[in-house]
Each structure stands twice: as C-alpha cells, then as structure tokens.
Symmetry: C2
Subunit: 162 residues, 2 copies
Amino acid sequence: MLGRTYDREVCSAARALEVAGERWSLLILRNAAFAGMTRFTEFQTSLGLAPNVLAARLELFVAEGLMRVTDGEGPGGYELTEKGRDLVPALVALTQWGDRWAAPHGAPIAYEHRGCGGPVRHALLCERCSKELGAADVVARPTEHMEAALARRGRRPNKPRG
Amino acid sequence: MLGRTYDREVCSAARALEVAGERWSLLILRNAAFAGMTRFTEFQTSLGLAPNVLAARLELFVAEGLMRVTDGEGPGGYELTEKGRDLVPALVALTQWGDRWAAPHGAPIAYEHRGCGGPVRHALLCERCSKELGAADVVARPTEHMEAALARRGRRPNKPRG
C-alpha cells in the first residue's frame, strides 16, 4: 500500500477522512458541534461508547488540531477549534446522503438554521455564474500542485502490494 | 462496541462512512465521478493500488448499490448509480476541508462548473430564508425518528465494552 504521504498530497478528501473518518469520530464531532458538549462524561454518556475508545478519539482530535483542551473550573473539557468546526458542512453533506439512502426508518436528526428555524440543506454553487449545480455539472481538474505532488511521489517511489 | 444497527439508525453520516469511508474508497468514487473511469484497469493504473483491494472496494460498492456492473463489449465495467453519484457533494465538502487544512503544498484537484468553467464550492443554505449559512448558524434537532430509533435500541440493548 502507498504511504500516508500519497493520500495527503493527492487527495484532500482522503486526508479529511484520515482524521475524522474513524468509527465514532463523526458522532463525537457532531455532539460537540451541534449539542454543545465539551465534557468527557457528556460524550461518554450520550454515545455509550467505551471510555478507552472515546479517549483515543479525543486525543487524536487534539493532536490534529480539531479540538483544544479547555481548563475551566473542575475537570478539563474539549472544544472544537476553527479547523474542527469547519467540518460541519461535510457532516451535513454526509448526513443528507445517509438520510436519503440509508435511513429506512427516517432521518434521526434535522439540521436547522439557528436564526429562523428553517431546514438546512447543502448545495454546490458555481462562484462564477452563481448557478446551483448538480453532481453531473461538476468536473475535477488536476492543478499544478497535483503535478508537483506526483513528482514528489516519483522521487519517493512506493511499490503497490499485490 | 454497539452494533452496526446503532450507527445506521442514529447517525446517517456514520452510515455514509460505512460504505464510502474505507481507505481508497473516495479515490475510486472520485475517479468514477469526475474522470469518467469505468474499467478495473483504469482504476488500478490511476491509483496504483493492489488489485485485491480494488476488487474488494468495487464489490462493496456494487453490493451497496453505489455502482452497477455494465456489460458492454469486452470486459465489464463499473459505473456509478444515482446513489453513488449523490455522494459528490460530500466529496466536494470533504475536499474543501482538506484543501484548507491539510494540503500544505496546495490543493491537488480543482472542481469546476462544466458549463462555464467557474470554480465550484460547497455551501449550506437555509430553505426558509434562503441565506447562506456558516457552521455556527446550524443546529441539530433530534426528530421523532430518533426517539423511535432509541426505543428500538432500548429493546435490543448492547452493552458498551470497557
């Protein structure tokens, strides 16, 4: 298998999943972002997951800069950084996919606009013509950074297994 | 650890990651969605990953309904279904996060509007007031389906480990 360097350089989406894609990670981030949870015991009670798993996830989030440890009175808590909060749109997008395709009993969570209470949805917008786009309207183009990444990869070749 | 049922019922985002969050999965879906790839050998050559890993991912995508096997002339190919293509906005959202926070050498891929060539971005919109929202403007509310899911969970208790 190619190393972490490959994913990091050549696919930003894969890199996002490296830090947020592990089992339970999204649920923890969701409870921090939308339910305002900060305490270890709040996450643990709400999710019912093993303390050692929760501790490992929180530790990774802090190491990766998605959360910071707060030191108010009593035991410390965990709060999202800007980097962590910036995952919210991806969370909403993944949730809406899951609601549509993988929630046979109906969507368990509804996202709402804090200001007016309206339902929130995600969209793809063109920054030039301002149109809202469907999936088929989007193309991906490698940038000059892709070429540089591939050149770096060429200088450090990793043989695929198999 | 709680079973798959838990994630499926209580977090649609976690369910999305169960089928698309494995290593290489996003890269394969990205190449299918944006580079028009359909052939096993195209995916294999472009990603340089082990054939057995690629075969396992494609098999899962077909089993989960993200891809279907096509039978044109020559060897069969794989194409995205509507369910698979519907992951595109989440892919764009994850990519934007990764570009901003985890691409020290610059974004390797640019998403463009097929029609006018403008840059594409992912946004959160309020369906009631039509405003574009930031992460802090979004709140999550459990629906009646959450209550039902928790009730089902209560009828099938799973003890957390640890």
